[in-house]
Amino acid sequence: MSRLTSANEIIANEIIARYPRPKSALIPLLHLAQEQDGYVAEDAMEHLAELVGVTPAEVLGTCSFYEMFKLHPVGTYVINVCGTMSCQLLGADELIHHAEERLGIRVGDTTSDGLFTLERAECQAACTEAPCLQVNYRHEYRVTPDDFDALVDTLAAGGGDVPPHGTLSRVRQHIPANRSVGAVPPEQVTGPPPWLPSAEEST
């Protein structure tokens, strides 16, 4: 339920500076907010609205459009079991049923210890590896009920290399000065961006 921390506000302003219009930074900023709290808190959305100069309603409109931004607290590990055709044919329904039994929650809920959230998802583009699931958006292929139990045991014991929900690395990228185009408004852009190899260089 918090605004961005002052450390994150500094990062936020760095991100904003990369764009010609502050509000273009909204998506990466939402990721930042989600990383901070594990979900996108209301206060954080109000804070982002102030930072990029839009209304909180516009931030919520953008945020709620994307499935991967969570508006309510979720478990440390969000498990999305694919329920689309290929996976379904190869046992997704059974897998989901098993997952519910094992975790003691229904799809959409979070375990009382706050560790796991179970979701049913649409095709994860891994149909050849059906049935599959994702833990915090990292794939697990050809998952049997036993595999699922083993996975949950490992995660609950603090094992595995899956970082907590919301953790990102990409928004922290630093753009080297020679590749930065700076925040030039689109209407003022002349010529190709400096990081595109020029015609002579590329031949």
Binding site: E42, M45, E46, V54, T55, P56, A57, E58, V59, L60, G61, S64, F65, Y66, E67
Partner: protein, 801 residues
Amino acid sequence: MTDTPVTITLNGETVECRPGELLIAAAQRAGTYVPRFCYHERMKPVGMCRMCLVDVDMGRGPGLQPSCMVSVAEGMVVDTESDRVKQVQEGVLELLLANHPLDCPVCDKGGECPLQDQTMAYGPGESRFIEEKRHYEKPIAISDLVYLDRERCILCDRCTRFAKDVAGDPLIHFLDRGNETQVNTFPDHPFSSYFSGNTVQICPVGALTAEPYRFKARPWDLEENESTSTVDATGSRVALQSSRNQLVRVLGVDSDAVNWGWLSDKERFGYEATQSDHRLVEPLFRSETEFVPGRWNDAVSRIARDLDGKRVGVLGGARLPIEGQFAWSKLLDTLPNRAYRDAQLDDGLPAGVVLGLPRASIADACAKGGVVVIIGPDLKEELPTLFLRLRHAATEDGVSILELTPRATSLGTHAALSLHPLAGTVGQVAAAIAAGTSSQAVGGVEPAQIEAAAALLASGRPITIIGGRGNLAESGQYTADAIGSLMAAHPDATFLPALRRGNIHGALELGFTPGFAPGGVLDHDDVLDASAILEAAAAGELDTLVLLGSDPIVDHPDRALVERAFDRVGNVVAVDLFMTESCRRSDLVVPAAGFGEVDGSFLNLEGRLSPLQAKVTPPGQARPDWMIAVEIAMSAMTDLGFIDLDELRRSLSSSVQSFSAIDWSMLNSQDDGQRIDLDRPWTPEFADPLVAPPVDGYGLRLVVDRKLWDLGTMVQHAPSLAHLAGEASLGLSTSDFERLGVEEGGVVSIDVAGATHRLAVRRNRDLPRGAAQIPFRLTGFDPGVLLTADRLVTEIRVSAN
């Protein structure tokens, strides 16, 4: 884009269209109505609903295209009635209704609902959907005035587009996605836009309803006529709707010249005051400490006696329709002594500026590619519909705005340049801009900004100057000086006055202002303005003070002066709709008929005359103002030359030159009204610019300005609006705020002229350094106690304890 017309074939007929015109609009002009939900002629198309699909053939065979998203092109062959079009219309409606609750019998929109009507006309009659529909809590309040029933919403994006693109208040938005998509606000951030009511009017289903009208009437029971809003000087065109002799709804009428169909919520819901239980219904005579009701004839003859041979001052007049103003002005002119009158309560501009400068229309100001200079108030607070037009001009039509305002206004973010001279310096800043350069900063405005402003004005684009009173704490003369300098440097510029009071332009035109007789005729004998009239009253030089719908006790900036005047003057007569503070201090109060109760006309800020039509009968004995004047004259055995409206209007047209060309027979039938003749045989003279006292390094220059929702009589008597008036606080620029070292909302001391006042302080990023702001007529604190009638500027000292 060229102007050569584009020829298309529409349902077999050849039709000439405007280049670039949308197909749906071109078809409509040619008499073919294509059904639609999301398209709205005053907003950009989005193609959300697909109801407007038609067959379009550009040479490769017909194909379905949304006619709201396609511009006409030469040789286009269009069929709006093909079998395929009929089939998709059925399909689209079946889909739109898939989740619609079909609760028409309990829906306010039933009977005037585009979804209902178009389903009847184009729909399939039956649905194949058997699935459960979406369910939502019905309805939720998204603001104090607007309710949203998400089950009925067809996601046409009209309300959300209006909020973002037209009003600039994107407080409602589509949330979620796919089947879950809904319109909503952010939690605890209501849709508190000054323009929220427009979304209710344009919602093509019953999803958005306005609190004041919910379950009040059925469309088929409504009677309607067209009138003009008297809420402010914009003169927005409205439709008045009544049921059983009660006004129940006001809708915006699309006048191309004025409001484009939009209204502010004050214009839309202010009618509630007409229905108020607190209306005056009978003449009230003071007897010792209380009022006793009396007979109408006694009241009229008493007023006749109070005027005859007496020294009379008249304050107000802007509430009256043109006809009332004319009748009162005739009546006052029959008196043996001059009756001094002023419709502005030291809160406007010198009348010569308003009456004498070449007048712009709203369309002139908003014409593509022009430059608009605003020297005055935040138009969103004082003339909100004009604000919408200018916002559109700035965002869509390449109009550059130069603000010379006491603080950044709501147009500031769209302005090419937003400059904020300290109180008392706008005249000097404008003079520097007119000169083109300045070697030093003036009133906090840097030389580079002055040069940039000068360059903008020198760019050869047409210039409109919009002038009003942006700060009640400084003399209005500074604004006049600024306008004078810019007009002198740019003689082709035109002027649009931003005075806010209802029919103030009618009042000025008909001589309710010092220095002018009706018709803008110079009259140098009549020199007392409102403050001077009050001074005269306070000095015992007036016998009778007449209040024509004015409430100087709370509306005149100088609280102390008004007190002295009311204490001293022998006799106060008030003609009003409500028992205002000033009425309470009067000796006789006469009830007048108000908005929606009288036929008449209204003159807006462009000099555009449009009709006021009666829709309901006035309460009790309340009468039209013109009738009251005629009766007073009769009681004094004077003949004004008219006893009905037609005679009065003939007399007006024959005696007041500016009205001589008005065709009264057309008054009620023109959406855009008629502009009166504003050519004057004189040009305004600008006195030598006033020089502001030097800035005192320890003090702050006070800005007193207005908010839309305030303690004004009309707002306070409209139950849905009354509670919207905010609490007064002292606004400081960020740097002054930080210098003071206080908390947001902390209480500070304000010292002015030896007295100390205490008020909560807030950071206001719109203010320039060195300025302090207190809004006029909010709850909690009355800045009138800080102001004097002879103020040039008002300097205050603020300290943290």
